[in-house]
């Protein structure tokens, strides 16, 4: 028995980047406060000290310029990792992401490659209100051409980051602030996991069954995986065994894992910290309706942010974010 080392998600991400920078000279990092500060959420901690300002580049607050520059540098064979500090800031640079990074490969007939990893912070629950608390991965999963990665644990975060850096396509990598293990923000303890020191990859498009169960399938990602697991523990005391599926990547999406689980449990609840309408929960519900409708013993249920901006005040925000209690209550209502 060896005692496996445990890491926070932020340290796991930084370690993955570090190991890839060591392995491949073409990998470099740019973004706001990624240098001496180490990234506002710690995703690049220690890299500046090791690699210096040539490879860990603080940028001006010019997201259009530096995200577009990442696309241009990738076209030349570099492998940039570029950070959009909060996903909420997408509005100032969306053209370079949506119309260029995502589409250039297709418009080139598959000839041009853009190995860019665009990292960004998501999630609320700490009263940062409507412009600093969104998830929005559904928005980026919607446009064809971006791979979408949303880890929920340190172990997944490292393996998925190494896969992202080695991928020849644009990858958006969303880390949830409440899972990063920051000293200044409460984090879910389950996000801290054993992480092997040696580099390893986790393939995209492989969901992870974080808990097995026979009575209901709960599909989620990021923080809501942990809320679902918390709910599942409560439900188990009542004799309800929930299976919790962590999608881990939205593009590509592991439809099979979802469909197979529903065929086993006959019930589906989809939980998301993104907005309710036109998003991940609707997509998963539609897939199950198309491919496993006959297996369902109860209507599909969804829990997500109820189509309002994220409010500031604590009781308001806690009301709109799906909680373990509400997940458990919803499952109970499906068991009749």
């Amino acid at each position: 028995m060896t005692n496996e080392r445990e890491l926070t998600m932020a340290k796991a991400i930084a370690e993955a980047i570090d190991q890839e920078m060591e392995r491949d000279e073409r990998v470099f990092v740019m973004g706001e406060d990624v240098g001496i500060y180490g990234g506002i959420f710690g995703a690049t901690q220690g890299l500046y000290e090791k690699y210096g300002p040539e490879r860990v580049m603080d940028t001006p607050i010019s997201e259009t310029a530096f995200i577009g520059a990442a696309t241009g540098a990738a076209a030349e064979g570099m492998r940039p990792i570029v950070e959009l500090m909060f996903v909420d800031f997408f509005g100032v640079c969306m053209d370079q992401i949506y119309n260029h990074l995502a589409k250039n490969t297709y418009m080139s007939g598959g000839h041009a490659r853009y190995p860019v990893v665009l990292t960004t912070a998501i999630g609320g629950g700490y009263n940062d209100a409507a412009q600093h608390s969104q998830c929005l991965y559904g928005l980026f999963a919607h446009v064809p051409g971006l791979k979408i990665v949303v880890p929920s644990t340190a172990y997944d975060a490292k393996g998925l980051m190494i896969s992202a850096i080695r991928d020849d396509n644009p990858v958006m990598y969303f880390f949830h602030k409440g899972l990063m293990g920051l000293g200044w923000m409460k984090y879910h303890p389950r996000s801290v996991t054993p992480v092997p020191e040696a580099p390893y990859t986790i393939p995209f498009g492989q969901a992870d069954v974080k808990r097995t169960g026979k009575d209901v399938t709960i599909v989620s990602l990021a923080m809501m995986v942990h809320r679902a697991l918390d709910a599942a523990e409560e439900l188990a005391k009542e004799g309800i065994e929930a299976e919790v599926i962590d999608l881990r990547t939205l593009v590509p999406l592991d439809k099979e894992a979802v469909v197979n689980s529903v065929k086993k449990t006959h019930r589906l609840l989809v939980v998301d910290e993104d907005y309710h309408s036109f998003g991940m929960t609707g997509e998963i519900a539609a897939i199950v309706a198309e491919e496993a409708l006959d297996y369902l013993d109860a209507p599909i249920r969804r829990l997500a942010v109820p189509d309002v901006p994220i409010p500031y005040s604590r009781p308001l925000e806690q009301f709109v974010l799906p909680s373990a209690e509400r997940i458990a209550a919803t499952v109970r209502s499906m068991m009749g």
Binding site: T64, G68, A73, Y106, S108, G109, G145
Partner: protein
């Protein structure tokens, strides 16, 4: 001017290649669109932005560039693509939506990508500046003396991307040259109506980099000014901003009624055609005989005709190939 007769004739021929390409495209574009104009019909559907009249800026710039230098163009990209050396066949075939095109028919005339010749462009105004900075950054990181050129129209100099990119390029001393084609019109809005200062090159002062205006639509004038900027970039001395006065002989897009334009503007411009002027100059200065000029023009025409024939004869892509190439494997 250190140009040999061969270089000068090559420039002259390339200008004619561009002009013939655009004129042929204008004609092909109208096929299937008369008597009733429907933008989606005919062998060349969709929007069409032609660069006839703007040959000097493309040819005068790209004569300084090597294959490993990067060019990022605009929604009006054919002259840049041709001057950068893209194969005419693949260019024409892409615009005809054919499988043999640069992007296998997936890009179209505003979205041309040639990895080999390091050319790309975009249909979004102002989008060329950031990726050109990235190409220049990559060159610097790789220790190469390659440069990147971002072309844009004068309307694009009012986009935030222009100012963000100039600051970034100046800050990081990137080997990039920003070239503004001032053809006076942003679709129907004149530069006077849209831009607070008459000369965009003055905006270089805000970023502490050289800014030069070329005030005539003249290929040798462009060649001279861009040459200094390219040398400066190759020496590692950072970016430059150049604005070139040029003239758009066609509308913003084909089918543009051009009601905003004074009626005598285009005839006046055509009377002062930059290719004819350049030819006359070559004759007068003894760099070429009339038969040299005629041969160059005919060779250009033959190249364009062959490319259009290739494009027309090429098969369309299989419809289901629309599902391919979202990602590379």
């Amino acid at each position: 001017m250190n140009l040999t007769k061969e270089h000068l004739l090559a420039m002259y021929r390339q200008m004619w290649t561009i002009r013939h390409f655009e004129d042929e495209m204008a004609a092909a574009y109208m096929e299937g669109k008369t008597p009733a104009f429907d933008i989606g019909s005919g062998p060349v559907p969709g929007e069409m932005h032609l660069a006839a009249g703007q040959e000097p800026v493309a040819v005068g710039t790209c004569m300084h560039l090597r294959k490993e230098d990067t060019v990022v163009g605009t929604h009006r990209p054919h002259h840049f693509a041709i001057a950068k050396g893209i194969e005419l066949n693949k260019l024409a075939a892409e615009i005809f939506g054919k499988e043999s095109g640069l992007g296998k028919g997936k890009g179209g005339h505003m979205h041309l990508f040639d990895v080999e010749h390091k050319f790309s462009c975009s249909g979004i105004v102002g989008a060329s500046f950031p990726p050109a900075c990235g190409a220049a950054l990559a060159a610097k990181k790789m220790g190469k003396d390659w440069v990147a050129v971002a072309f844009a129209g004068e309307g694009a100099a009012n986009q935030g991307s222009f100012h963000e990119a100039l600051n970034l390029a100046a800050l990081w001393k990137l080997p990039v040259i920003f070239i503004i084609e001032d053809n006076s019109w942003a679709i129907s809005v004149s530069k006077r109506q849209s831009t607070a200062i008459p000369d965009n090159s003055q905006r270089a002062a805000g970023y502490g980099i050289p800014g030069v205006r070329v005030d005539e639509n003249d290929v040798l004038a462009v060649y001279e000014v861009v040459g200094e900027a390219v040398q400066r970039a190759r020496r590692g001395e950072g970016p430059s901003l150049i604005e070139v006065k040029t003239d758009r002989l066609y509308g913003h897009f084909q089918g543009d009624p051009e009601l905003y334009r004074p009626k005598d503007e285009v005839p006046t411009l055509r009377a002062n055609d930059p290719i004819l002027r350049f030819g006359k100059q070559l004759l007068e200065q003894g760099f070429a005989t009339q038969s040299d000029l005629d041969a160059a023009r005919e060779a250009a025409k033959a190249d364009v005709d062959a490319a259009f024939a290739f494009a027309r004869q090429s098969p369309y892509p299989a419809p289901e190939s629309a599902l391919e190439d979202v990602f590379v494997s």
